[in-house]
Every structure is written in C-alpha cells, then in structure tokens.
C-alpha cells in the first residue's frame, strides 16, 4: 500500500507539471493582449516598458520556468517563513503578482480562502451527514413511499442547477419573507451573540443551496451501494445466525456500503469548489470563485493561472486520496 501511494505520488508530479504547462500555454497562445485595454495615446516605447514590467518581454519558456520557480519554490518558502519565523536567504524573492492589484496572488488567495472554506466545507459536511441516513433508509425500505419521495427529490436536486435554486431561494426567503439577507457581508466580525446570529443568517442560504445539491448527489450513491450489498450472501448468513436486524444493517451492510461512498465523497471535493464558483456569484460571497471570475473578466493572467492551477492540484490530490482510501478500506483491492 505504501509503495502504491509513493508510486501514485510520483505520478502526480508529472501530471501536475503537464497541467500547469497546458494552462500556461493556453493563456499565452490566446489571441488577447494584456496591454490591449490601455489607451491608444500611450506611446509605443512606454507600452514596451509596461510589457517589460509585466514580464512579457521574455520568451515563453523563460516565463513558464519563472512562474514554476515562483509558485513552487518562492511561495512555499514564504509560507514557511511566516509560520516558523525562520529566515531563508535575504527574504527578497520574486512572487507571483496579480496584474490588477499588483499584490502577491497567494496573499489574495489566503484572504479569500476562509469564506469559501466555510460555505463549501459546511455544506459538504451537512451534505454527507444528511445523505447517509437518507440513502440507508431509502435502500432498506426500497419502493416504499419514503424511497419514492427521496429518490424523486434527489433526482430534482441533482438536475436543478445551483444558480436556479439559489436565485429561487433569494426570491422566496429574501424578497418575500425577508428572513435572510441575499448578499453575503464579508466585513462582518463575529464578536457577540447578535453578530453570530447575523453570520448564521447570511450563511444559511448559500449553505442550503450547496447542501441540497450535495445531499442529492451523495444519497444516490449511498442508496445504490446499499442495494448492492443488501442482497449479498453475507447478509443472509448474518440474519440466519440470529444477528439483530439493526446490527445487520448498521454494522455489516453499512460498513461495506460506505467503502465506495467514501471515494465518491473524496472525489467530490474538487467539483464542489467549482460548483461554489457559481453559488458565490449568486450570493456575492467574495471567496475564491468570485476572485477567479473577477480575474477572468479583467484579464488578470497570473491570477487566473495560479487559481486554475490550485483547482487542478485539488483535483489530483483528492483523486490520490480516493485511490489510497479505497485500497485501505477494501482489503480485496490490492494494487501491488
């Protein structure tokens, strides 16, 4: 298992390098000029200086290598310095700078991360916690009314796009009922009871939208996996030797059914981040997704490059986690 993990880790490095190259090449090959939006009155030599200041006067490969160096060596060293207080070298390292704000991209990402993590993380947690009991009950009482309604709702939740549920909830709960605010206020500091309530209130709608989507997504897998296991021989054996029904269901069947579900949950984490791009746009949460959209619209290439690459790292990482978890949880799977 350890050898397999190491091998996969080694394989992840070239994958990530290729992905970063693809993203970089795509952004570079695009017929779009970062200085194109500047006024035409700027003389050509100044324009050249602007391009040089952005680092655009160098050949493609050099710029790519510089980005790699900045992202993989300088930024981790900076983070290490901040955490430990140690000093590496003279502390003056080139960092990936955003063209729009001229501040380091990683700092902006660190600023935006908490909002996204709170909304996405909570909704994923609620999604998993709700999906497992719903899936178990629906499979155990297959074709019952609960199962019929549950399957229908999960199909609806799976099909209705989050940008529609989000807008619909805003219409109902913000416009008509005035229960929850429709815009997320990031400046809110939780200091006392009333600000905590305000925070919960403003998080309610975005979290609910994403939770609905996650529940319907995961509960379908839980139900299918439970159904696969419920008709296996070991369940009949357990019942025949007089094990209590509750134990059969919750210990024998559930434990075996959760193996594929755990991998589905792990694989779903990166997709959830990209789903949050849309939800953040609906509720005006200024998280990572919103940062990306603004960067895309403003043509802020280093920002887009770094953010897209961070998303790619998440995907590769969670694929790896899912594979390794599957191997650990299911003794029938042996990779070596």
């Amino acid at each position: 298992m350890f050898k397999f993990t190491l091998r996969r880790l080694f394989f992840a490095v070239p994958t990530l390098l290729v992905i970063s190259f693809v993203i970089f090449a795509l952004l570079d090959l695009a017929p779009n000029n970062p200085t194109g939006d500047l006024p035409l009155t700027i003389p050509p030599e100044v324009r050249e200086q602007i391009r040089a200041a952005l680092g655009l006067d160098q050949p493609f490969l050099i710029r790519y290598l510089r980005w790699l160096h900045q992202f993989f060596i300088n930024e981790p060293l900076n983070i290490l310095e901040q955490i430990t207080g140690w000093q590496f070298g003279d502390g003056h390292r080139l960092r990936v700078l955003s063209w729009a704000t001229r501040s380091p991209v990683v700092d902006l990402v660190v600023q935006r991360m908490p909002q996204t993590l709170w909304v996405v993380g909570l909704s994923y947690l609620f999604g998993v916690l709700l999906a497992i009991p719903i899936g178990v009950l629906s499979a155990y009482k297959q074709y019952s009314i609960f199962d019929q309604i549950g399957t229908f709702i999960s199909m609806v939740g799976y099909s209705v796009p989050t940008f529609f549920t989000g807008v619909l909830l805003i219409v109902v709960f913000s416009s008509y009922l005035h229960w929850f605010p429709s815009v997320y206020d990031t400046n809110l500091r939780v200091t006392d009871w009333s600000s905590l309530m305000a925070q919960i209130k403003q998080m309610f709608l975005p979290v609910m939208v994403l939770t609905l989507y996650n529940v319907s997504h995961i509960s379908r897998f839980v139900r299918a996996s439970m159904l696969d296991n419920l008709h296996q021989d070991y369940v009949r054996t357990a019942r025949a030797k007089g094990v209590k029904e509750k134990t059969v269901l919750l210990v024998h069947v559930l434990r075996n059914s959760l193996i594929p579900v755990v991998t589905v949950i792990a694989l779903g984490v990166p997709t959830i981040f990209s789903g949050a791009i849309i939800t953040e746009q609906v509720f005006r949460v200024n998280g990572l997704g919103q940062l990306l959209i603004v960067a895309v619209q403003g043509g802020d290439i280093p920002m887009v490059q770094t953010l897209t690459f961070i998303f790619a790292v998440l995907i590769v990482l969670f694929n790896l986690i899912a594979d390794v978890l599957y191997g650990i949880l299911d003794p029938r799977i042996r990779y070596d």
Partner: protein, 306 residues
C-alpha cells in the same frame, strides 16, 4: 406493441422476442423514464413549434410595455425593455437545446473515437488513457471560463457574433466532456474484442476498420446511448452556467442561462423573469436525466426479464 404479435413464435404466450421490442417494453416499465420522454418531447415541441403559434418577435423592443406581469398578449410578461418573455424563452430554448445536442454529439464522437481506438489497438491504449486521465484532472469550469474569455473576440470577428460564440461554446463543451464516454466505451470494447465473432471476422480477413464499424460499434451502442442522454443534460447545464456567469451568449442572442442571468438583476420587480427560464432548464435536465436512467435500465441485459 400490437405488431409484435404478428411475429410467429412457438409458444403464443411468450413475450416479444425481438430485442427492440423487449427494450421498448423495459423502457415503458420505467415510469419516470417514460414521463421524462413525454416532457422532453413536449419541451422540444413548444420550443420549435411554439413560435408559429405565439408569433411575437423575441427581439422586438416595446419600451412602453416594460416590466409587465402576465397578460393575454404576453403570457409570461415582459422584461425591462419590453421584450416578450414567452417568445424569449422559446428562442432561448432553441439555442440552449441546439448547444446541448451539438455539444453532446461532438463529445460522443470524440469519446467513442478515443474509447474504441484505445480499447481495440493495444499499443494506443496506454497513451490515450493517460490523456483521458489528464483531461479528467483539468479543472473544467475555470478552464472553460478562461478559454471563452480569451478566444471570444477572435471568433466573433471571424464568424460573426452569433455563429462565433456558438462554435466556441459547442467546441469547448464538447472537447471537455468526452472523457467518461471514452472510459466506458473502452471497457466495453475490451470485453467485446475477446468474443468469438470478432476472432471469426479477423480470420476471414475482414479489414480492421470494417470490424470496428460492423462488429464492435453495434455492440457498444448501448453505453454510447446512455452517455448521449446524460451528455445532453450536462451540456445544457454547463452552457447555462457559463451564460449565468456572463461569459456565454450575448444578451441579444438569449439562451435560458442568459435570460436567468439578465433576470436576476430584476428580482424585486419581475421575479417571473427568473422563474420561467430556470424552470425550463430544470425541467429539461430532469426529464433528460430520467430518460437516461430508463435507457440504462432498458439496455442493461441483467434487467431484461425474459
């Protein structure tokens, strides 16, 4: 179902023998799938035949009749420029469905091509599957946004604003959603390749491409069909998500996602502007998903009752 009885069979009580009839019977038994088919056909009819009945130009601006509620003249009301919403939703549906279906066909073609070649030719299997893994690891939504932002203007100047963006979006969605089809088709091809009739065809000197077209493809058709139905749904969702983020079609060339995006700014005045396009997207995707479920069940030989 009545024409099946005409087929002579040894025992009159046996169910239909032909595969198509059995599949259809299995499909009919799936109530959700059948309902999905009816709803999907109804949406297609409304969107394509509806404009003949409700013949209002979707782009006609009537500023005096702006932000109206539903009336006999404008059943879905009007927007802030006096566009008739029903006509807009129908026009948007034509584009959304066209994008969904074309993108699905492109993704299906690419997926089948990659799947069949990597399943059939062992030498290409490794590289092609690594390529598939690589595409699966790409963060799709951010990349779609980036590609559209960067190439939108160039394509617009080449093909005109409408065709340019249509080509771009269909191409981009198709190119980024073939991977699941490729994996499923490859698995099926690997299984079919070992069967005896393929060996027989090979030993009788049949050309490779004829074996693939005549023997392999018909046998992996069922999984291609399932990916096709589910592909339409995801293509429609992706297109509306892009339009919703303001990076899809322009406003004068509305799709359901774009209508929803434009309507979201007028939530307080005319909430129905959000409701109708959103409902249309949701109903289409829901019906197509049910359809896909039913097709999968109907084509699954394990589910086929004799």
């Amino acid at each position: 179902m009545t024409d099946v009885a005409a087929i002579p069979s040894t025992v009159s009580t046996t169910p239909p023998r032909s595969l198509m009839a059995a599949t259809w019977r299995q499909f009919r038994a799936h109530r959700g799938g059948f309902a999905g088919l009816i709803v999907f056909v109804a949406i297609l009819l409304i969107v394509f035949i509806g404009p003949l009945i409700h013949s209002v130009d979707p782009n006609k601006i009537d500023i005096r009749a702006k932000n109206q509620g539903p009336s006999l003249l404008h059943p879905f009301g009007t927007d802030n420029l006096g566009h008739d919403m029903l006509a807009q939703v129908m026009a948007g549906g034509r584009i959304s469905l066209a994008v969904g279906i074309t993108a699905m066909l492109l993704a299906l073609f690419l997926g089948t091509l990659v799947g069949v070649t990597s399943g059939y030719f062992r030498r290409l299997d490794g590289p092609l599957m690594r390529l598939t893994d690589l595409f699966l690891a790409l963060p799709l939504l951010p990349l779609l946004l980036v590609i559209i932002m960067l190439f939108r203007d160039t394509l617009r100047s080449y093909f005109g604003p409408e065709t340019g963006i249509f080509i771009l979006i269909v191409f981009v969605i198709g190119v980024t959603s073939w991977m699941h089809t490729a994996r499923i088709v490859r698995g099926d091809v690997l299984a079919v390749k070992r069967l005896e009739f393929v060996m027989a065809a090979k030993s009788s000197g049949m050309r490779e491409y004829r074996i693939i077209l005549k023997h392999i493809l018909p046998n992996v058709m069922s999984s291609i069909m399932v990916s096709a139905t589910l592909g339409i749904a995801s293509a429609i969702i992706t297109e509306s998500a892009l339009s919703f983020l303001g990076l899809g079609f322009p406003s004068d060339f509305p799709t359901w996602g774009r209508l929803l995006f434009d309507g979201a700014s007028f939530l307080q005045i005319t909430p129905s502007r959000v409701l109708w396009p959103g409902l249309a997207i949701s109903l289409t995707v829901l019906s197509v998903n049910y359809l896909g479920d039913a097709v999968r069940d109907a084509l699954d030989p394990r589910m086929l009752k004799s």
